[in-house]
Amino acid sequence: MKPNTMVRSMFAALALAGSLGALVASAPDAAAQGAAVPLRMTVWTGNKAHLDLFNGIAADYQKANLNVQVTFETLPFETYTTTLTTQIAGGNPPDLAWIFENSAPDFVASGALLPLKTALEGTPGYNSADLTPSALRLWQRNGEIYAYPFSTSPFAVFVNNDLVKQAGQKTPAEHVGAGTWTWDNAIATASAVNAKTGKGGLVVRDFDYKLWDNLATIWNGWGAAPWSEDGKTCGFDQPAMVDAMTFVYKAIFTDKAMPGPGTSADFFAGDAAMTITQISRASLLPKEGFAWDLVPLPKGPKGEYAVVGQAGIGVFKNSPRAQEAAKFLAFMTNPENSAKLAQFFPPPRKSLLTLETLAKTNPLLKPEQIENVVIKGIATGEVKPSHTGYAQLSQLVRAGLDAVWTPQAEVKPALASICQRIRPLLAR
């Protein structure tokens, strides 16, 4: 047995050495030729139009970089940040990820994101001077960019003019023209539609009594904010917020202008007169359906205002393909592709925020709509609320707001108790 085993082990050792050698020898060649580089980007949209756009850009990138293959993984919108952070905590982070503006502080401060300035500025033709500083503010720290705000999208009101006319009301466009497009009139119109047709009046899309930060599209008109600029003081018990929330409460439960908790109305299916959402939803408008319009947010007691939501793309530092990912990000957000993305996701590029560029990529929208809603909104809009430790903070606020969304609610005490709950977290 013994001599045979010796021979066998010698063969085994030779084979092992041989294969190891082959592996080592081939590695530099592989790098030179380009071993396959699979990049994964998590997104929260499953919309076909959006994904087609992204896949098209990825295909273009692959033409110049044959080994890079980019896949876009859709995670559900409502639990997007939780699922993403679970992937990270589980040692399975993507290479690139979309980031909501409300969790931007957490991600930027976490040290998990790759600084992007060098990659972006180092890309020929990128023109990083074109990027507007106000859009970048949330995504920067100490002069370094940690995530690229590929979408700075204003909130606006989509209107179903058929329903509005059916209820015998003036259309919002007429109000805008007359300078009477205020929240009071908006709610009156919505209430009339609901009373006359039974359909929903005004729907704040994605709110559904869960994602409360979407209400910023309303309360900003009162000058209210959930917390102070520095994030340390609670804003819920301030007079502005109390007034705003009382207004919303009345709109829901007294005027029946907004669908109550547990009921839903989908504007794009024709079940609501108006909806507040971002222009990225324009792809949902039915090809031949109701007569629709797009108008800015109504005036609040504090006058005209605009609200924007942002979405950033970050590269995870610990990914083995981080550099490649950064290069792809630079390609995806260069001037040419930014123009393509502008159809749904307005870029932070000054040169592209002109009427002609946007009109080209937004065939659905009329020039006045683009001018009044998109361009003005981005220029003057305030970003939705964000804070460190957002997951816990938002859950506490959400639970506290549940006390407001009942027919017998007392708005002021409920808001006061929210402040009580979140004060220790804000102070951190």
Binding site: T45, G46, E73, P76, T86, G91, D266, A269, S280, S283
Partner: protein, 280 residues
């Protein structure tokens, strides 16, 4: 309770049974019929018992929106592996605790029983960390190993032990005389007799694995690895309209096959469970 009933009492009893059966049956009925309705009809008032028109589109969408077939397969093969594995481990351990005398067996049985006291949520965080360290997060290994070897299989061991305790000792003595070793006795004599108990264990274990929700949500983050319960909650698209009919179609696809199997084999199902020895 052996008197025969007067017709009035009979009618009353049947009536009562029918009324009681409604909340058990109506949801399933509603799920299947609503999956064929157009979205706007689902919340129509008054609720319609039968769909006005049959739309098959949602069923197709179930498969295009997610790797649903893959996810179905995931749930099925994981449940099958866990069932077979648990049957093996539980019958071995249950038999040993019941019929073999070895020192410390009562203490060891108590140690195993501790598993019954521990809800899966208590240990999920350290289990997550353990699997993270060996790089097995986002694989199916946690969903297979933990049910077979951990807390969920303890009840299976308990059932098997109860059953084996009730076996007459003479059977084993006879086998001994024939020269069978302990494993032989187990394999040739005890196990074949344990069919009803094994059947019950198989049912419990399969259903438990099929329905696991927290564990897949914690361990799995890639859609093509998801299991069925997890997948069912993903049919929402914020950038699209409500997909209720698609959700219901997916739910129907998940529920109906098992239901059909159950109706066909319901006697074995129920009688197997009744004879688990849990009655004491």
């Amino acid at each position: 309770m052996t008197e025969s009933f007067s017709p009035q009492v009979k009618v009353a009893l049947y009536g009562l049974l029918c009324v009681l059966a409604v909340p058990f049956v109506f949801p399933t009925w509603w799920m299947v019929t609503s999956s064929f309705k157009p979205v706007s009809d689902i919340f129509a008032f008054p609720p319609a018992l039968l769909p006005r028109s049959f739309e098959v589109a949602p069923y197709r969408q179930v498969f295009t929106l997610q790797p649903f077939a893959r996810q179905y397969f995931n749930s099925a093969y994981i449940a099958a592996v866990v069932t077979v594995g648990t049957m093996a481990i539980a019958s071995l351990a249950g038999y040993a605790f019941a019929r073999i005398r070895f020192p410390g067996q009562n203490w060891l049985f108590l140690v195993v029983l501790v598993g019954l006291l521990i809800p899966s949520e208590v240990t999920i965080v350290p289990l997550f960390q353990m699997f993270l360290k060996v790089g097995l997060v986002n694989t199916h290994w946690p969903l297979i190993l933990v049910p077979i070897l951990g807390a969920p299989s303890v009840i299976a061991t308990f059932i098997m032990r109860q059953f084996f305790i009730s076996l007459p000792a003479e059977l084993e003595d006879a086998a001994r005389v024939d020269g069978l070793g302990r494993f032989g006795i187990f394999w040739r004599i005890a196990l074949p007799l344990a069919r009803p108990a094994l059947g019950a264990v198989a049912i419990f274990t399969f259903l438990h694995s099929w329905n696991l929700f927290l564990e897949p949500v914690v361990f799995l983050s890639s859609p093509d690895k998801f299991t069925l319960p997890q997948a069912l909650t993903q049919f929402v698209d914020a950038y699209g309209g409500p997909m209720w009919n698609v959700q219901l179609a997916a739910a129907t696809l998940a529920a109906v096959p098992v239901l059909v199997v159950f109706v066909v084999a319901q006697r074995q199902f129920i009688e197997g469970l009744a004879h688990t020895g849990l009655k004491g």
